[in-house]
């Protein structure tokens, strides 16, 4: 453990700022996540939700402030970045499965190349996680042969095959047809019950109420509101959050 890290926090963001050219996408963001905690992040489009979680596994590089993941500070050092990425899985809105590989190959690539598992072990692990996302029978298919909901579940299984301690989800159901949203949310709820630490960017408020320990509302690159779901949904303090909630809970 790094001496500077606040104790018993798995993720720490300290005054994190991020610029895209002249545009400030994150403004002094502070956030801490305990092991096993589920954080749901919401906010209007362009508010910096994706940018924030992408900084946590270094898909974006923050300019100011500090980010710690399990005591390791994210710096430009390759070893730090690799250490952090090894702990953090990520699920994208657009699935980003590898289209030229079968489902099984998508799942075993990381375990084989990064974790150096044997082929048999990697495949056993892959089948295990495919069963957990309820599609073991699709192992030999290519991603394009699956429905959107199935593809996203494969993407979740692909991340889990790396056995991360933290899972980040960036609007995992936004690209899905309505009838497929619940199958993905169910898998995520199951995952939450296993004690996985999760940060989920989503506007699925039913899911948020069920699963979240902490709700975060972002606007214009800032965390405007942070509260347990009961308080968050019943008496949000800021006006911006109230307006936002009214809008998305209306439909």
């Amino acid at each position: 453990m790094n001496a500077m890290t606040p104790s018993n926090q798995l993720i720490v963001l300290e005054d994190v700022s991020k610029m895209f050219g002249d545009f400030q996408a994150l403004k002094d963001v502070n956030l801490t996540v305990k092991p096993g905690e589920k954080v749901v992040v919401c906010g209007p489009s362009g508010s910096g939700k994706s940018t924030m979680i992408r900084c946590i596994n270094r898909l974006e590089r923050h300019e100011r402030g500090r980010i710690f993941v399990d005591g390791v500070e994210l710096t430009d050092k390759r070893t730090d970045i690799d250490a952090v990425r090894g702990e953090v899985g990520m699920v994208f809105q657009q699935f980003n499965l590898f289209p030229h590989l079968t489902v099984l190959e998508n799942l075993t690539l990381g375990p084989l190349r990064v974790r150096k598992l044997s082929k048999a072990d990697a495949e056993a692990r892959a089948m295990d996680y495919l069963a957990k996302v309820h599609i073991p029978e699709q192992a030999q298919k290519y991603p394009s042969q699956l429905s959107g909901g199935q593809q996203q579940r494969v993407a979740i299984a692909r991340s889990l095959c790396m056995e991360p301690r933290i899972m980040l989800f960036d609007e995992p159901t936004s690209a899905l047809d309505p009838e497929m949203i619940s199958e993905v949310l169910d898998v995520m709820s199951d995952l939450a019950e296993t004690g996985m630490t999760m940060i989920v960017v989503t506007h699925e408020m039913g899911f948020a109420r069920r699963v979240a320990d902490t709700m975060v509302f972002m606007d214009a690159g800032e965390i405007v509101e942070k509260a347990p779901p009961e308080t968050f949904f019943t008496k949000p303090r800021s006006e911006r959050c109230q307006t936002f909630l009214q809008k998305i809970l209306a439909h």
Binding site: N57, L59, V88, Q94, N96, G110, R113
Partner: protein
């Protein structure tokens, strides 16, 4: 389906060409006996001409194999975020592209042995010159192909901790290769044609042999007509092959 269409196009082209020669044969003074399979000398001449095929193929295929590898190695720094690294790519591509292939062939064969103090065979001089020249184009093709792959693929690879080499090898290049197969096929066709230039340093490929036969038989019209047909058939077959490969890879991906 497509392959038959392609072959039948090739056949039509050939027929039109042969028909054209037959008609023009009425006025011009043709002497097909030089390459007539029914005479002893005709068969020898024909065998001599066709014997160049293996050198044309060997030259082109060796050169393109090398240029693909060199091209990829030159393409990669071109994708870097760092300006000085990208400059390596730019300088190489601009310099190599600026030199005509024929000039490069002459320089490699006559010039290179003097500065490097090596003796170089006609074949390898040809291969090096063709490969060098082509590698600049290959580098551009690879760069465009790799850049066409969605950013999400890189991010997904990073998120499962793949390093740069593995990301390229297992995720990006297999997808990029499928996309750049048509321009790669074009380069192979281009290379087959450009290999005729290696005749100037004495490589016994198709063009050189035709030239030599013209000198002994003094029948340029017939001999060069055969040469035209040789390239035509060769290139139509290669194009059909490339198309077939393209379709196979596409059905593999099932997208």
């Amino acid at each position: 389906m497509n392959i038959f269409k392609h072959i039948s196009t090739a056949r039509t082209a050939l027929l039109i060409l042969l028909f054209g020669f037959a008609v023009s044969g009425c006025s011009a003074n043709w002497g097909w006996y030089v390459v007539s399979p029914s005479t002893e000398q005709g068969r020898i001449n024909l065998g001599f001409l066709l014997g160049g095929l293996k050198y044309t193929l060997a030259l082109s295929i060796t050169a393109i194999a090398i240029s693909v590898v060199v091209g990829l190695l030159i393409a990669l720094p071109g994708l870097s975020e760092k300006r000085p690294v990208r400059a390596i790519n730019r300088v190489y591509v601009e310099l190599v592209r600026a030199v005509p292939i024929l000039v490069l062939i002459l320089w490699v064969y006559y010039g290179l042995p003097q500065i490097a103090d090596i003796s170089i065979s006609v074949f390898w001089a040809g291969v090096i010159a063709l490969a060098l020249s082509d590698s600049a184009f290959q580098a551009e093709i690879f760069r465009a192909g790799i850049q066409s792959i969605d950013k999400g693929q890189h991010e997904a690879a990073q998120s499962i901790s793949l390093n740069y080499t593995d990301t390229m090898r297992y995720v990006i290049l297999p997808q990029a290769l499928r996309r750049i197969l048509p321009p790669l096929g074009n380069q192979l066709v281009y290379m087959l044609k450009m290999s005729s230039l290696v005749s100037v340093i004495g490589m016994q490929e198709l063009t050189r042999r035709a030239n030599e036969l013209v000198v002994t038989e003094y029948r340029p019209l017939e001999v060069y007509t055969i040469l035209v047909l040789e390239y035509l058939v060769l290139i139509l077959i290669v194009s059909a092959g490339v198309r077939w490969l393209e379709r196979r890879l596409r059905s593999d991906e099932r997208q």
